[in-house]
Amino acid sequence: MNEQVKQALIAKLTALADDELILAHRDSEWVGHGPILEEDIALANIAQDELGHATLWYGLRSTLDGSDPDRLAFLRDAAEFHNCELVELPKGDWAFTLLRQYLFDAYEALWLSAAKDSTYKPLAEVAAKILREERFHLQHTQAWVERLGLGTEESNRRMQAALDAQWGYAQQLFVPLEGEGVLVAEGIVPDLGGLKQTWLLHTTQHLQNSGLKLPLQPGYQPTSRQMHTEHLWSLLAEMQSTARWDAEAKVW
């Protein structure tokens, strides 16, 4: 692997891992606050799975540059994170959290299905492993979008509000990183342009079947992973507080 490809791959793995880590943290904020015990457990499971995926992506990066996943997660500042803005938005209500998880799962399942054929074997293996869990996540979140969309007037209103707020942000999932083209050319990662069309087809159909309307104006669409909303700072302040206070945290 030449240096250019290697640097591009490190950047991509970091972005993948950061998305999973920040989304996992937002989901974990529901622990103990879910609308019903069963769903509290289910979302905690999803959060743990996403955290596990983050660990796998940071782990792959580590084999390339020797970085320490714990340091990346707990000792970087917000400006050094490369997650998309969608995952850092505050958890909102149940509809907001489940819609975000659905839009992300739909993207991730597609990305992984393609990435399991990556020419870079370690990435192909991780993708195949994660894909199993993502298929189940997607069934769960898909079911919630449908039930809230077609449920009561209020559940539909909340789901529609979540969609209006998130649709633009979700488009960032398909904005390639600078330099990602070289990875696509090498067959290491899938081309996001092609995936976006499939994602739009699937999500549009499911959202409309769930009694929801796609926003006519997609609103703000972030394009750079160098930029973040103010919410990432407060999220990290909480997530990193223990590690920054006592990095070893061996005695507690």
Partner: protein, 185 residues
């Protein structure tokens, strides 16, 4: 207005050669939702290959004691068309994690008739309790390899942490207690 979701009994099959066993219940809005939450609550780590759910309200449940005390099993008074019932039975107090095991299905005009038939038919072991469940009320997880893989396979990599893993905490807590004790004196 009752805003509580209905309760569903969950049946889990550990391996293809074992029967489905009642492992507990979940609250859910509809059958598929019940299956999704059942998978999260009962099969995230434990081994499974298949799950069934049935609304608790559809289950006829009778214990050995109730039968001994003369609980009457009313036969159907109408000429009902027979339908399929799944029969579950508890034969031992040994495994406290599960309740009844699936023993077989039969055709009968009513749950009570099905239970009477079951008592005659499934005699290989003494029954402590019976559940009779209309087959039409049971929703099953898909048997497709893709579903089995995504619902149940990841559990193999998710082991429980043994208590000994937390030894460090125990040791520290003990030390902490002793220090506190000294302070008290």
């Amino acid at each position: 207005m009752d805003t509580q979701w209905p309760r569903w009994e969950v049946f889990k099959q550990d391996t293809p050669s074992k029967p489905h066993q009642a492992v507990g219940s979940v609250h859910a809005a509809d059958p598929f939702h019940a299956l999704l939450t059942a998978r999260n609550v009962f099969a995230r780590r434990p081994q499974a290959v298949s799950m069934w759910v049935a609304p608790a309200s559809a289950i006829l449940s009778v214990t050995k004691e109730e039968l001994a005390e003369g609980r009457e099993l009313k036969p159907s008074t109408f000429d009902l068309k027979p339908s399929t019932y799944y029969v579950f039975r508890k034969t031992s107090h040994k495994r406290s994690m599960t309740f009844v095991d699936y023993v077989g299905e039969l055709e009968a005009p009513s749950p009570e008739d099905a239970l009477k038939l079951a008592i005659e038919r499934f005699t290989d072991a003494p029954a402590l309790a019976w559940w009779v469940v209309p087959a039409s009320s049971v929703t099953k997880s898909e048997d497709s390899p893709e579903t089995v893989e995504s619902w149940f396979a990841p559990a193999k990599d998710k082991t429980y942490k043994q208590q000994s893993y937390y030894g460090l905490v125990g040791a520290h807590a003990g030390k902490h207690k002793r220090t506190q004790g000294d302070d008290d004196e």
